[in-house]
């Protein structure tokens, strides 16, 4: 319909320079057509959603490049084919994302309740009526552990990370050996596998405190190793965005470097720094392996990060599946509940990061 309208709107007669082109809205016809064909194929082979999407994409790609090859030319056909291909690549990446979130929400939503959040699991009691062993369920110990360990890790990494970034941006001469070394080492640190960070914390604490030195503090040290490079890089990036004019204006007024940094540079960059730190927290809060190495796991409530194994949400999700208790179904459902809580935490942290960014709109923009 619209194709016809556009033909009418143009001067009558075939334009020599625009001949051989498919109608502008060709996708609107080809895509549903491919979908119907794919549905028919699925009807023959047996239905499944992924097959439907895959066949739709394949038929669409074949149809659009075939049509273009016939009506237009080889170059245009290639162009349309690639356009379809990269769009399918993007849609393909959405599948695992949607599938993961859907699985976690649908599996975890049934477990999630105030009781699950508010009580600590793992205790066993005997039901007086049936004399069966009942395992209590709950994630309080894991929530407290996650918050304490991540909080401690933030407490360690933010000062070190921010001060290092300040050193790199404000103090070090560009060619100074220490600056180049630190830059290099931050890169190295970014590449540390998370499990190696866990092994480091474990080795450190067992060498000092003897075997069985599992503690929340140890896990926090492991997380700091992973978090510091992220914090350094994002703070560095934000400090570099602060215009040199502001610093020069402060120096011109006779303000010292320290006061300039604290009162001018950091406040200007604070939104970005806060965003970067929040995203760094969101990154390490889901780490499983290092916490598992350094803090072990437990079902008992332990609010003291200085001693004894500590449970966290990601580790709870892992152990609930890998080392289930006597009631396997219960352990598995607990794992999903922990996973959902964890995903919620990460999503909230990401949102908070963006809200910080939105509220403290960049003061650098003119």
């Amino acid at each position: 319909m619209s194709a016809a309208a556009s033909t009418v709107a143009r001067p009558a007669g075939r334009n020599r320079y625009s001949t051989g082109s498919l109608p502008r809205r060709i996708n609107l016809y080809t895509l549903p057509g491919s979908f119907i064909l794919a549905a028919a194929v699925m009807g023959l082979l047996g239905f499944n959603w992924f097959g439907l999407a895959a066949f739709t994409a394949l038929i669409y790609l074949a149809a659009i490049s075939g049509l273009s090859l016939v009506v237009e030319n080889r170059r245009r056909a290639m162009d349309r084919f690639i356009r379809g291909l990269v769009t399918s690549a993007f849609l393909l990446a959405l599948l695992p994302l949607v599938s993961t979130l859907w699985t976690v929400v649908s599996k975890g939503i049934g477990v999630l309740s105030w009781e699950f959040i508010g009580t600590s699991g793992g205790g066993t009691t005997i039901n007086p009526d049936t004399l069966e062993l009942v395992t209590s369920s709950g994630a309080l110990q894991a929530i407290v552990g996650t918050l304490e360990i991540t909080g401690l890790a933030t407490l360690f990494s933010v000062p070190i990370g921010l001060l290092t970034a300040i050193y790199l941006v404000e103090y070090a001469a560009p060619t100074h050996w220490l600056r180049r070394t630190v830059n290099f080492l931050v890169d190295v640190m970014t590449g540390i596998p998370s499990i190696v960070a866990g092994l480091f914390a474990f080795s450190l604490f067992t060498l000092i405190l003897g075997p069985k030195a599992f503690s929340g503090l140890s896990a926090a040290v492991a997380l700091s190793v992973l978090m510091i490079p992220t914090v350094v890089r994002s703070c560095e990036e934000m400090l570099r965005l602060v215009p040199a004019d502001l610093r020069e204006a402060a120096y011109a007024l006779g303000v010292t470097k320290f006061v300039t940094i604290v009162k001018v540079v950091i406040p200007t960059a604070i939104a970005g720094i806060a965003t970067g730190i929040t995203l760094a927290i969101a990154r390490v809060i889901g780490e499983t392996a290092p916490i598992f190495m350094a803090a072990s796991f437990t079902d008992a409530f332990n609010g003291n990060p200085l001693a004894g194994p500590m449970q966290t949400l990601p580790v709870m999700a892992y152990t609930g599946y890998k080392f289930p208790g006597q009631d396997i179904a219960l352990s598995n459902s607990q794992a999903w509940g922990a996973a959902l809580l964890l995903v919620l935490l990460v999503v909230v942290l990401n949102l908070v990061a963006r809200i910080i960014a939105a509220i403290f709109a960049p003061k650098t923009s003119r």
Partner: protein
């Protein structure tokens, strides 16, 4: 006029004299030095724990003869198949993820509507935010049964290829399933770095190509790809670095054995990765066995360090000049993308710059 330098001199002397200033400078330098100390500590403590196990005689030491390290004549014969498995699983993941990641990056940078680009980039970054343990659970529950028919098909019809031979898995816990989940996890890293590099293509080159009548794909092939080659290579290498160190998803999905096997569809005889081996055996290991596991961790550290270093070397290297520079600014305009910008995209998974200044990223 003559008073001015004197004043400047006096004020700078005054600046140097402030104690707060000196303390702060000292503090920030100390923080920078502490990075060196921490890294040295990581290496040192791993080595301290690992050396006894590496040096021990594996055939006579009672601790090492049984349990998780049983049946291996030496540390190196224990770590070699693990190192192979780590690289093998990561390579399969990369082969699966790279084309898709480059496609997505291209879609976001050059094909999607401009207004949507930032948002679409954010969706892909969300994939990076999902904790690996959640991907592990998802892999067990969804991916294993989902990939099972495909694996049976591959085994039946392409079984003559050594990779797909052997007795096919019945639960789906093969290295292929693990690699698919790994691929999902490295996808956002490769995508975000490639996207940054693609966006840095000089606008003039792109417009010149379009003005000469190139289709969009030809424009991409002629201007974006040559410019972005080194950036994409290092993006893939950084993705490899991430895949090598990934623990949970692999530990939860793959049903392993410590052997060197190229077969990807089998169960219980898949090559094991270092990280997953540590995670699975650490709780049950004792004494020297733990030290042996820490030794394998050290090997993993060295491998991923090497990969990361190569990635950073590649990206900071200037891309080769075009063979036929076009005009005066041909050489100048094809200068390397700023490594700082690109690496920032990898270090902070979601760059704060993209959050604060969406317009600077999506152009």
């Amino acid at each position: 006029m003559s008073a001015f330098p004197a004043t400047a001199h006096r004020s700078s002397a005054a600046v140097r004299a402030r104690p707060a200033d000196r303390i702060f400078r000292l503090l920030s330098t100390a923080a920078a030095v502490s990075i060196m100390v921490i890294l040295a500590g990581v290496a040192l403590f791993l080595i301290l724990r690992a050396v006894p196990a590496i040096a021990a005689n594996w055939t006579s030491e009672a601790d090492l003869k049984s349990g998780v390290t049983g049946g291996f004549p030496s540390f190196w014969s224990y770590v070699a198949p693990l190192a192979f498995g780590t690289v093998w699983a990561s390579l399969i993941a990369l082969i699966l993820a790279t084309p898709v990641a480059i496609g997505i990056a291209l879609f976001i940078s050059h094909y999607s509507p401009r207004r949507l680009a930032t948002f679409l980039g954010y969706i892909i970054d969300l994939l990076a935010a999902v904790p690996s343990v959640v991907f592990g659970l998802w892999g067990i529950l969804v991916m294993r049964p989902f990939l099972l028919p495909m694996q049976e098909w591959l085994n039946t019809y392409l079984g003559w290829i050594p990779m797909f031979s052997g007795s096919v898995t019945s639960t789906g816990s093969s290295i292929l399933t693990g690699a698919v989940v790994l691929a999902v996890m490295v996808l956002p890293i490769i995508t975000s770095i490639s996207r940054e590099v693609f966006l840095q293509t000089p606008k003039l080159h792109e417009e010149a190509a379009l003005a000469l009548g190139a289709t969009r794909w030809e424009m991409v092939r002629l201007t974006v790809f040559p410019y972005a080659r080194s950036g994409v290579v290092s993006a893939v290498l950084l993705g490899l670095g991430r895949a090598l160190g990934e623990t949970m998803a692999v530990a939860m999905i793959i049903s392993p054995a410590i052997i060197t096997s190229f077969r990807v569809l089998t169960e219980g005889e898949n090559s094991q990765t270092i990280a997953s081996n540590i995670a699975l055996n650490f709780p049950i290991a004792t004494g020297l066995q733990r030290d042996a596991l820490i030794g394998t961790g050290l090997v993993l550290f060295v491998i991923s360090l090497a990969v990361n270093m190569v990635a950073r070397l590649v990206i900071s290297r200037k891309p080769r000049q075009r063979r036929r520079p076009t005009g005066d600014d041909g050489g100048k305009a094809t200068a390397a993308p700023d490594p700082a910008d690109v690496l920032a995209a990898s270090d902070a998974r979601v760059s704060p710059v993209s959050v604060l200044h969406p317009e600077s990223v999506s152009k």
